[in-house]
Symmetry: D2
Subunit: 294 residues, 4 copies
């Protein structure tokens, strides 16, 4: 299949390469020319603009950093929707707010193009190993049609319901994750401060009602688990500033939905403070440093 | 073995009956005489006071509602420690603050009586079915010696380290549980408000990084899981006011340890408001009602 | 002076009438035609569009509900800036986010039009009595030039610094106000619950270090002060949903400035819950109802 | 009058000296003998114990660090109440929880001794200059009788209602103060971050609805006011750890009263973190450092 791919950063680059590996013909574009040039070396055609990238292809895939980028790539005089052939399916893998996802998908539909939102989890490592999880919002036939393409880039492709629900699933899951990570940080540091061995405490929690992914798979206390960021000074993993970005998205979505999220809003603030303290580049489990003496 | 059992409420009554079932000879006491009388019908000897209950027995077990009760039963002129024979092992199953647990255990040790703290999880249902989990703090030999007795009342008996650590494990686990329950409530209601099917959202979270016991085993959103309190108007289960009591214990312990617990303190407040709103008698997963329109 | 006035709602209507009272010739516009018609009865010229309203006038004043409205009235093909005569001063009295205010002011400057942001406090009552306070952001000469016009609608006209700073002053003040109102609610209800007479407690706080405008001028506890919303079931005053809107603006601004506001974010959530509970139309001091038994 | 004074620390020492200056005959005691010896040099009689200090005096005054100290000085076999002559008035100036204050006052009443709680504000400087404010809980005649004595040590003596209400007024006022100080810190730092001059912002807030004692009299932003701790690196003033102690008292009192205090509990946590970060010895306005880049 001939696929137009827009957005070739840390995530988009390996995702595009995985599509090419599976035999798809790629036409690629990024506002930073060097990013496209890298892929040209691997045999991809380089487009001159986003609009150009959408011409003469059988599918468009985008991986962009935020809602305004998605709007500007798709909408307006120089947007993809101005040039794309009616009927071409569109897959947006960016993590953005659900309302923008739905608006752009409706505009795409008006041009005859079925569009799905398919944000990912798994990070750069997952993008490189083609083990990403895609959370997909859109109509079932559109989901089914894009599945084979998404499976070139990831392991799990999950249908979350209608348009925008991929985004909803992603940001609501990550809000829960952030709160649970901080809960684990508070529980682990308090138990240790009250005299318990952190490993013993973790083993009890993990067979009890307090268990969560952050305690049993990604424990933030140094030395409790091997091969997690906590055991290598919080290097690698999922950056605290990326979690902060998702928390900002989800608390904004909660405001527009008029839904209170007291712990979510406080978690957003704690990650904000963590970032201001200079830890934004570390793995998000480093938030436990907020609870430890310097 | 002849066992003195003090504290015969909703938990203590079935626990004492399970000990009797396994052939132990019980001498029982409660400040409310009818509670002891009920057990007399089952062949237990009734003591005239806490002190009396500790005389002529080979072990003392207590199940009391709070730290001041534990102090008054054990310490002072009319306390158990004033009468107990040196060498008699003591098991306190109450959930109290770790500092009090350690103080009383030290006083017991001074009288030559090894004492362990062994708070439980599993609720009234677990007490009746003898499936409780005991989290035990104390020296290893004392833990080993009491194990057979505890196994008459429960399924899991876990050693958590030195004196007081049973309490630490219990209250720190429950703090994490409370935060994760509210996190699940916030995530589920926000996803639903943003247009997602709650069952679909739960199924995605439960195979993803946001999963926790509150989402995959005890989901608070009505209709997502069967046979949980959320599917029967939050009847039964673990009362919100009992969770509030544990949150109050743990935030007090954090204060004395000078350890911040931002989400823990906010969770305590949310359960406090939930109680004031009249929901204290419902299962603790009913906290999701704070996030739903009336 | 001939003034174009756009936005004729609860605030804009009395503001425009006060300008007319002082002899200014008004050309008015609102997307809701009846709102303009009401002013036509008072001798104002009615414009056919926002663009038309900006033609042939010596100053443009706008009073709009949110940032997107301000963008759409000023920018784009049919925006005020497309038609306005270079050199015409512009005054935007809307409460919006500071970044949007600065962007629009820069676009206006590019057309040769000096623009100031001048959000108000004082509410509908202040607009009718011409006792509003204007917090003005912009260059000093532009501030000075517009002062006489603003004084037809208000009592205090305060210069807050460069472009956007009127908005900054307004929303940061209101964040402090919201937190202090909730602080007063918590302090008053707790003191009462602990057995103190609310009037006595207020009198002590108000001569002590806990005093604030919310305690000494606008006390939320019923019966403490006369002639405040708390003494008339929270009718009138500054609506809780308007406070929620300002808190949403300020917490969004904090996110973009990467500045933590822990209490501000929690205050936003408490007002969000208050709104969901059905109290959004009451005065913002009604947030004390969150702390009282039903 | 012959007065027994117990508790001769940073506060008690200057308070006792001020009583002596006004001609009262003092009998003094502290568990630390050197503290009593210092006052002996100034002509005070030194008692051999708390009980001894209460014998042969016409009034007992205490200034102690916490509730357990108050209990142990007054109650039990070696407590003041065991020895004091019936009818002797008692004044406790300690800041403790209202429930303990009421319990001890009831025990005193049972011995025929009228007791008032009279916690102070004003700090060491106020104690030395005899400018303290006393917040008094107790019956009106007992309040009136002690007034002349209290006026030797302070400027304002305020009746707050029945027994314990002095404590209620003190801790509820200080909860409001802590929240308002953090509100001011958040507002000032956000306004500065968004581009406003802090002095200009403070001047606007201080004539507007956001004003409070923390903004207009004790502003935490360096350089806004002269002669406040913020202008001397937060030296002197009211220590952050003392504020933390009062916040711990008030949030505990709220728990026992089953009253939610969401912002109060979060403020307690923020001061807890501030203390852990090593700032507990600085003035409490230094909490603004939590909001500034290192």
């Amino acid at each position: 299949m001939k696929i137009g791919f827009i957005g070739l950063g840390h995530m988009g680059n390996p995702m595009a390469r995985n599509l090419a590996k599976h035999g798809h013909a790629l036409k690629v574009y990024d506002v930073v020319p060097e990013l496209a040039r890298k892929l040209a070396e691997q045999g991809c055609e380089v487009a001159t603009s986003a609009v150009d990238c959408a011409r003469g292809v059988e599918m468009v895939v985008t991986m962009l950093p935020s809602s305004p980028h998605v709007r500007s790539v798709y909408l307006g005089e120089y947007g993809v929707l101005a040039a794309i052939a009616p009927g071409t399916p569109i897959v947006d893998c960016s993590t953005i707010d659900p309302l923008t996802a739905r608006e752009v998908a409706m505009d795409a539909k008006a041009k005859g193009c079925p569009m799905i939102d398919a944000p990912v989890s798994g990070g750069v490592a997952g993008a490189e190993a083609a083990t990403l999880t895609f959370m997909v919002g859109g109509d079932v036939p559109d989901f089914e049609r894009s599945k084979a393409v998404l499976q070139c880039m990831g392991k799990n492709v999950v249908h979350c319901g209608g348009s925008g629900n991929g985004q909803v699933a992603k940001i609501c899951n990550n809000m829960m994750l952030a709160i649970e990570m901080i809960a684990t940080a508070e529980g682990m540091t308090l138990a240790a401060q009250l005299g318990m061995d952190p490993k013993v405490f973790a083993s009890i929690v993990n067979t009890s009602s307090g268990r969560c992914w952050s305690s049993d798979t990604y424990n933030p206390f140094p030395g409790v688990l091997e091969n997690v960021p906590a055991s290598r000074d919080y290097a690698g993993g999922f950056g605290a500033d990326l979690m902060l970005k998702d928390l900002t998205l989800v608390t904004d979505a909660a405001k527009s939905a008029r839904q209170p999220v007291l712990l979510g809003a406080l978690a957003q603030q704690i990650y904000q403070k963590h970032s201001v303290d200079g830890h934004g580049g570390k793995d998000f489990s480093s938030v436990i440093l907020q609870y430890m003496k310097a």
